[in-house]
Symmetry: C2
Subunit: 342 residues, 2 copies
DNA sequence: TTGAAAGCGCTAACAT
DNA sequence: ATGTTAGCGCTTTCAA
């Protein structure tokens, strides 16, 4: 393996100094057009490839932003990531991805690793386990942009991009009520993540304004997964009074609920089911799943825009913007018209 | 913002030299246990965080491997990535992700960017557009590990991990034949990607050994998507003779095919349908979709293992291993028993 | 417009 | 076991 070409090789080749080469290559203005061309030609001829590491070490800017998500396997996060990348690429920023797999420990390790890699900023969506968020403080202390999205925390004074989850919970509930459902159950998680609580609060509020009572037996707190959905539905079916509709914490859980309901011949919309996130499969299962769209692409774009604003300012936390996206109900078969059976 | 602590600060604090600090921190053996402890304590006290950039610049190792995939939004790739990360993390390697979005141009840019970031190696799955693969040569030239997975090319002498796609095509076809289907159509892509051709060849071979003829009208070459599936199915339905089964290039295409068939009341398994990839939704649509499992997790693990082997050797290309995974038929409703109608 | 030179934070001979 | 020192490849001030 022959040594890689550096700017020194180019300089030697052309009998000029490295500073000139550096300037020519980085688009420095005060340089003659001929010199610039010569350098660029030589660079190409010598198959020069810049070492961004060295440049980053010197300049203090890596043009890499770290993104921490629970998992790329959720279509929602995959979409957000996609749009973040899209929104950042024209400015030369790249993404380095870190998956927490819903574990705080991994999340802490992620922050540490990304910081050590000298990223220019971090965007994160909290793991389900995350309660204490002090591990994010170090980013702020280093005066680097930190943006929280979707699964945010109010304990950090940083910009955020999130859905109006209270409204999401409210709208989902109201949608069911509008369809004639009354005895509404909620299968969700116990984790202390803001968005899940907000959705739950929205649910309670919708029930209240519609003068419907909430049966504590119809509140199932567990995890969020197909399995948890099956389990939750099973528990509800064995209860004293059967719900006529079920709100699930996310689409995977809703899928589990539907599978269970089909097994016992209460196929939706006989019992209504609605989820959150509009996952890739939600439109294609039978019955197709009504859900709440969380606009992942808008979210990714907003994260990128927020980040670019922050790096422009001397102090990224000069003005802290909290972007709220409005949820949209996606109506499908699982909440079809419900015959009101007195 | 106060300056970040470096090993110099620790050295000054303890009246020792940076080399001692460096050694203490990096687990160098010939160092007294007391010194090591003092240094570690001071590091903690001063809130020291190593600058991996500097270390990488000096040592020539970043412990980062670049992964290029068409898109993380396909569940298959998300799973592969997940397992690559999993398989690498114990060795201290991190992943930096690059999405080609099925464009060669992006792919070329990806290789360039990752190389400039001084990654220690690259794993890639080709975009649908990719025909010429010379942009990958630079990686090999730098003597850095390059591993191709799933969408591989035979024009590069590098280790690969891929499915036996010929067999995948063969098994899918044989499965349909075993179920009693005879007039089998194929809806796939025209792109010059090896795996798609292999599947098609497998299909042809299976037809041949079963003495079934292939009607050229039943070969639809287009793209791979829900839309392409609908389109392909529509075209087949309008043909002179109707197929009694359809093989789709992937699960998304199969989904489109099924939707179309349901609309015209030929719901599978009346007409059999099978796809490739076992996407997240495939088990949950109605009828549930038979498909070929491509073992993404195994693929990711193998990529990681291969990479770790390569970095161990002086010359990563000393011995080139090409791992082939065996496809597995996942039988579901869409290829249920077919009544043989003479 | 170009050159000289210092230094980003770390590692690793080589010396003691 | 610890210290000295020379870079890794680049940017950037200061000087010419």
């Amino acid at each position: 393996m022959k040594k890689k070409t550096t700017i020194y090789d180019i300089a030697k080749e052309l009998n000029i100094t490295v500073s000139t080469v550096s300037r020519a290559l980085s688009g420095f203005p005060a340089i003659s057009e001929t010199t610039r061309q010569t350098v660029i030609d030589a660079a190409k001829r010598l198959n020069y490839s810049p070492n961004k590491l060295a440049s980053a070490l010197k300049s203090g800017k890596t043009f890499i932003v770290g993104v921490i998500v629970p998992s790329v396997q959720a279509h929602f996060f995959a979409s957000v990531i996609h749009s973040i990348e899209e929104g950042l690429k024209d400015s030369g920023y790249r993404i380095i991805l870190y998956q927490s797999n819903e574990s705080v420990e991994n999340e802490i390790k992620g922050v540490k690793t990304l910081l050590e890699a000298q990223v220019d900023g971090i965007m994160a969506s909290l793991s389900l386990e995350t309660d204490d968020v002090t591990h994010f403080q170090e980013i702020i202390k280093q005066n680097k942009p930190l943006i929280l999205f979707d699964r945010i925390s109010t304990n950090l004074k940083v910009p955020t991009v999130a859905l109006n989850d209270f409204k999401a919970g409210f709208l989902a509930t109201q949608h069911l009520i509008d369809k004639g459902y009354k005895k509404i159950a909620f299968v969700t998680t116990i984790h202390q993540i803001k968005i899940f609580n907000d959705r739950f609060e929205g649910f309670k509020e919708a029930m209240r304004v519609n003068n419907l009572s909430i049966d504590p037996e119809m509140l199932i707190f567990g995890g969020l997964s197909i399995k948890d959905g099956r389990f939750g539905a099973g528990k509800l079916l064995r209860g004293k009074t059967m719900p006529d509709a079920i709100i699930a914490g996310d689409d995977f859980t809703a899928l589990g609920v539907i599978k269970k309901l089909k097994e016992v011949a209460h196929t939706p919309p006989e019992i209504g089911v609605i989820g959150f996130a509009n996952e890739a499969f939600s439109a294609y299962i039978t019955p197709s799943l009504s859900t709440v769209d969380q606009h992942p692409n808008q979210m990714g774009r907003d994260c990128a825009a927020l980040f670019l604003e922050m790096v422009k300012q001397r102090n990224p936390y000069e003005e802290i913007r909290n972007v709220t996206l409005e949820p949209t109900i996606v109506e499908r078969q699982s909440t079809g018209f419900h015959f009101i059976s007195v």
